[in-house]
Amino acid sequence: MEFLFAITVGVMVSAAVYLMLSNNLLRFIFGLVLISNAANLTIFVSGRLTDGAPPLIPEGADAPLVDVANALPQALVLTAIVIGFGLFAFAIVLVFRAWTTLNSLTPDDMRLAEPEEAQK
């Protein structure tokens, strides 16, 4: 099961890197979303995958009686997803703003802050 997930993560990362290397900001953002989900999956898998064992503690006991799923990675992934959502919302708005003010989505054309020749 972990093996399958590892392959999935690998495929996602390679697709994401391909997207991020393209000369278009919107594709870059899509790549970023994809690679961040790959990172989330990595955390999820590193907690080990256990099938059909919810992390519930029976009433009256202090600890789970049998081997259960690791709940911590899910908490971590949830936090990462929420944070990622905020960051990507900002990034997408920024890219939209870049498109309206700079009339371009090509990073190579964005030379306002760093002019190619220092104007004398």
Partner: protein
């Protein structure tokens, strides 16, 4: 004890909330100043406690370490929080003059204090995932501050800043995931011992992931390109606080992780760091030499100065770590101050492009004196703070027969003087190209006080560190001893180990 640790995070957080609620009125800026002052008080208290009791730790939410979120302050954390508070006070006063009402209405003060909360949180947390969360708090606040005002250059710089920092964030997250998978813990003190049982080769790979993630934040070669692309675009108070604090959080994280957790294969990791340090110094200073805008020159110098701190970490001898800690503290004060001064120059001389300004020495001698102190400190002139910082690091390099790296460090210092004299000659000595005389009296008396008091305060601090380095070096020695022998840190977090 834990309230003392939480206070430096809670204070700026609450200040941010209050400043957000009052963003429509001028009250916000005073709330920001007051909040920073309270933060300064809290961080002095924290520093006193750490000096008296040694490393202190607190478990948030009542879950014992390593399961809960740990806040922990050793000497390095405490001094970083203290210096953050000092910069926060300086910049929040400066912002009274620098930040216009339009930016205030958009929530400048709220974002600023949120940024401070994120920075302090990153310094004080003892949990790796919590460090990630503080990084994000800091990052989202810095995104907002960077593009606040929305001029096209800001959007342009912002795109590059956001893109590269988000990539670094994902590297960090992946590193956390892999490290958790290998050790089953994310508590930094627990990790320090848990990594001994992990596959050492895999651990090195994870270490490199962290090195890249923090390297982007710290703006080291070859990962620094977002910094000179963006730092000269926002308001001056924003670039001052970015220049002073943001990259140093990356350096702090490197310093912490590569002394506490990733010290298993120093021959590999710290050799990479040594190369990175040398190249960062050289590339940064050469980049600065090619620029003709005050803020761009200063931005490239951030990069080059980061190289010195990484050099201290890479050598990993007690003296080198002392140098790195000393450098870290000195540099925050000096660099923030230089950006604040650039802001004054822009206000009275009409720009930061060196060919278009001039005459500041003749008509604003006070500003000239205030510039000389941090500029020469940055270049490493005795008896200013930068001299001792560079002296310690070069001495540390010579002690381990690192002739080449010591030579690079000295040569880069020389080139730093070149850049500083370039600013000095063109902005201060040469007459203004338009024939005007830029006078400080052209500022309103309120603006003059709000801009010059923080600059003078930071300059005095630079001189104090320079003239009386003894207590500061002793402090850095104690702090370096804690970093190199993390027993006290681990015991404070986890209790006595069998």
């Amino acid at each position: 004890m834990s309230w003392l640790l939480a206070l430096p995070i809670v204070v700026p957080f609450l200040t941010a909330v209050l400043a957000f609620l009052t963003r429509q009125s001028p009250l916000g800026r005073w709330i920001s100043v007051a909040g920073s002052a309270v933060l300064l008080f809290a961080s002095i208290t924290l520093m006193n406690t750490v000096l008296r009791d040694g490393v202190i730790a607190g478990q948030m939410g009542g879950w014992a370490a390593p399961f809960g979120i740990t806040l922990v302050a050793d000497l390095l954390s405490a001094v970083m929080v203290l210096i953050t508070a000092i910069v926060a006070v300086a910049v929040s006063i400066y912002a009274i003059a620098d930040v216009d009402e339009g930016m205030e209405r958009l929530g400048y003060h709220a974002l600023f204090n949120m940024l401070i909360a994120g920075v302090v949180g990153a310094f004080i947390t003892g949990d790796l995932f919590n460090l990630y969360v503080w990084f994000e708090v800091m990052l989202i606040a810095s995104f907002g501050l960077l593009v606040l005002g929305g001029r096209p250059e800001q959007i342009d710089g912002g795109v590059k800043y956001v893109a590269l920092n988000l990539v670094s964030t994902i590297m960090f997250l992946t590193g956390i995931g892999l490290l958790y998978g290998m050790t089953g813990t994310l508590n930094m003190a627990d990790l320090a011992t848990a990594v001994d049982d992990a596959d050492q080769r895999l651990l090195t790979i994870v270490a490199v992931l962290f090195m890249i993630a923090f390297g982007v934040k710290a703006a080291v070669f070859p990962l620094f390109f977002w910094l000179p692309a963006s730092y000269h675009t926002p308001a001056f108070s924003v670039s001052a606080v970015f220049a002073g604090l943001l990259t140093k959080v990356g350096v702090y994280a490197l310093l912490r992780m590569f002394t506490l957790v990733f010290d298993h294969d120093t021959a590999f990791t710290h050799t990479i760091l040594l190369w990175v340090a040398g190249l960062t110094m050289v590339v940064g200073v050469l980049g600065a030499a090619a620029q003709s805008d005050m803020r761009k020159i200063l931005s490239f110098h951030i990069v080059s100065q980061i190289g010195y701190m990484i050099l201290g970490l890479a050598l990993l001898t007690p003296l080198a770590i002392v140098g790195a800690v000393f450098y870290l503290v000195h540099h925050i004060v000096v660099k923030a101050n230089l950006f604040l001064i650039a802001g004054v120059a822009q206000r009275i001389a009409g720009g930061t492009e060196l060919s278009r300004i001039g005459g500041l020495y003749k008509s604003a001698p006070l500003l000239a004196v205030l510039f000389v102190v941090p500029a020469f400190s940055l270049a490493g002139f005795p008896p200013l703070s930068g001299f001792w910082a560079k002296f310690l690091l070069v001495k540390a390099a010579l002690d381990v027969q690192g002739w080449i790296i010591a030579g690079i460090a000295l040569a880069v210092g020389l080139l730093t003087i070149y850049s500083m004299t370039k600013i000095w000659a063109q902005a201060f000595w040469e007459p203004h190209p338009d024939g005007i005389e830029p006078k400080l009296s052209s500022l309103s008396s309120r603006d003059r006080a709000a801009m010059l008091i923080p600059i003078a305060g930071l300059a005095v601090l630079t001189v104090i560190i320079g003239v009386m380095p003894e207590p500061f070096v002793q402090f850095a020695e104690a702090s370096a001893a804690q970093l190199l022998d993390p027993t006290a840190y681990i015991t404070a977090v986890l209790g006595e180990q069998p």
